[in-house]
Symmetry: C2
């Protein structure tokens, strides 16, 4: 008898028909003797419908009220899925984030989970009930409804799996696993059977939309066995592993791309100690996440400082940066939101030279100019003009010879 | 500076445009210095949309999950209305029933309010915020979401007004007050400026759809000044009063009708002490409300026992009654759900004879057969075949000469 936390995303529960398919699937697993906690998102389209209503009322709405509004989406799904399970003779009980209770901080729209009370869930599981929990939402210490931000249902599932010490956390989605690149861009991209948590983190944060970064971080922190698989077709999916890195690891696991970012540069800023904090402190205070940061060697005691933010935060970050520029005596602020970031990720690259040069050659061969470069131990990321994004992804996939391989294990045999 | 609790029903907040109209109205009242607690229903159509989804999944759904589902309707409205108020520069905070907290018993779908914690609301009012509360919903002692049943938003408003000792509870709806009869049936029915709580109770329970019975009971119990008025046009509406009945009262306040009931008769039941309890006990245990009850004098130690229930409960009540019939040795059970109930209501009738006879003559003149009669101090109700309902209402309105009057105060001058 295993305990599984299973998360079904918006497209997986996007219609009554789909909810019935999910209920059948859960019924089969329950009949096999598994104990099940199900986390669901809002039915696909529902969140957009609610956002449209709010936009019509007040585009500059408060995040607190936005959370009250959006959290209804998952609440509808938990009720409907529980009803569908009842119809199949299965005891099922639904819980909102408030009811569980999933306690978060008070940063509405981007709240972080602080604790989960698993008492009620354990009691229900003990009574052989399937527990259905609303993803994406929680409650702060004052009883205000919070949301974890889009994709937060993954985080809910992983956090519940950690709290309940589940045997596996299964993220059911509309793709059947993690791929070596986006199959819509690279038609012969391959599904990976396994991927290390470090690689998955880089892929997730670099724009592979399969899993939300925070959910992978959470999984890594608590070593939750995490599997991504399709709710539309059978298959083993991709398992995120916590194994030691060995020479058997593939050199490169995947290529991620992301056109959701924008680039900001503050130029001619005095290069004094603490300048990075003076620039990024106010940005962080505004709850704007910064991704890539590049600072070049200084000339004449001034430097150019460039970073990327989500495109939604571009105007806000630019306004903040202009204030900072005036305060610090910087020359000016420039920005560009027509960029794309592409990352090559793989734990195997730690022990191999030449990844970056292979990458730059492939892009050079296609005459694609590189605007920013950022590296970590298991990743090389570049920023290019967004019109070259698809071309760059295909060129890199070909350069790293994914195209010629049938399983990712063989990747470790590639040499540069 | 007055404290008002204002309730806006589904049609009053049925679209973004309507929500903006309501927000304007609230902004004006707030600018006048009033402290305001606003109770809202789900946007019209939303509850039906949710019920249709649930019906598609599982027509025999659990009431617990149904409440989880339906309570999202008001939650959407509180968020949108709060956003609309923010746009007008007004501090506003939304609360679900769980958040307030409005504690109810655990009878899902028909829960009764046990207590209200007004601490947070008072703190918000003190900070000059408008408080926006989801009607129709509460939370039981175990943290389960409950609903008060359709129309329960009125009860929420009255209960909040009682808890907060509000100066007035205003029920904004799509009609501009309580009428002497349904204006759709009797075109020259008149709006009443005032009505006693006893009359309002009889009218509400007898089918005048303006206010839900329970909300009027609640108002009466705590003597909450209650006013019904239109959110679509200006006007004083109808005030429900708690004055002593005097000769100045109108003889008849109004005529109510109701085609939502069904009639059940258990025939040839042994007329022993306690038989009424043996029949109605199991019906009450099933949470089926019984309205009219008629038992005739017995013959041969057996009697016929007739009562009415809501049409939705007809099949369930009939099945229960057949079991009771078998147990008690009654001869049979018959039922009819094509009935209408019509009631003539007025505190003035206490001191006047002849109301019933005027009523019966008016119906006799139209050849309408009376199936059941039930009377109280301020009401005479009859049951007729439902196809005669409109004709009967018009005949009675004419018989009691509402047609010739311009204000209801003059009604007291009518003699039989």
């Amino acid at each position: 008898m295993s305990l599984f936390v299973e998360k079904y995303g918006g497209t997986s529960v996007g219609s009554i028909e789909r909810i019935n398919v999910v209920a059948d699937h859960i019924a089969d697993s329950h009949a096999d003797g598994n104990r099940l906690v199900i986390v669901v998102s809002a039915m696909s389209g529902e969140t957009n419908r609610l956002v449209a209503l709010a936009d019509e009322i007040n585009p500059a709405r408060s995040q607190r009220e936005s959370d009250v509004l959006l959290s209804t989406g998952e609440q509808v799904t938990i009720a409907l899925l529980s009803m569908a399970l009842h119809k199949r003779g299965i005891g099922a009980k639904s819980y909102t984030g408030t009811q569980v209770r999933i306690v978060t901080d008070s940063v509405h729209g981007k709240a972080r989970i602080l604790s989960i009370d698993s008492t009620r869930i354990k009691a229900d599981l003990h009574e052989n009930n399937v527990v259905v929990v609303a993803g994406f939402q929680g409650v702060d210490e004052h009883g205000n409804i919070t949301t974890l931000g889009r994709g937060g249902s993954d985080t809910t599932a992983v956090a519940l799996a950690a709290a309940l010490e589940a045997d596996e956390c299964k993220i059911f989605t509309d793709v059947d696993g993690v791929y070596s690149a986006d199959p819509r861009i690279v038609p012969d991209a391959r599904r990976l059977d396994r991927i290390t948590v470090e690689e998955m983190l880089e892929l997730a944060s670099q724009g592979a939309k399969v899993l939300q970064t925070r959910s992978v971080e959470f999984a890594g922190k608590y070593r939750v066995p995490l599997r991504v698989l399709s709710s539309f077709k059978e298959g083993p999916g991709t398992l995120i592993t916590y194994e030691e890195v060995t020479m058997e690891q593939p050199l490169i696991s995947g290529i991620a791309h992301n056109a959701d970012e924008a680039k900001l540069t503050i130029r001619g800023v005095p290069d004094t100690p603490g300048i990075a904090y003076r620039i990024l402190g106010p940005i962080a205070d505004a709850h704007i996440n910064v991704d890539m940061i590049v600072q070049n060697v200084s000339e004449d005691n001034t430097t150019d400082f460039t970073f990327t933010v989500h495109r939604n935060d571009f105007e806000n970050a630019k306004a903040k940066l202009e204030i900072i520029a005036a305060e610090t005596g910087a020359s000016d602020v420039i920005g560009d939101n027509a960029i794309a970031k592409i990352s090559v990720v793989g734990v195997g690259m730690k022990s191999h030279a030449g990844i970056a040069s292979t990458m730059f050659k492939a892009l050079s061969d296609e005459s694609i100019n590189i605007q920013m470069i950022s590296t970590s131990e298991i990743k090389v990321s570049i920023v290019v003009d967004d019109k070259y994004m698809e071309l760059a992804v295909r060129a890199l996939h070909k350069a790293f010879s994914f195209d010629n391989l049938s399983t990712n294990e063989e990747l470790s045999t590639i040499t540069q």
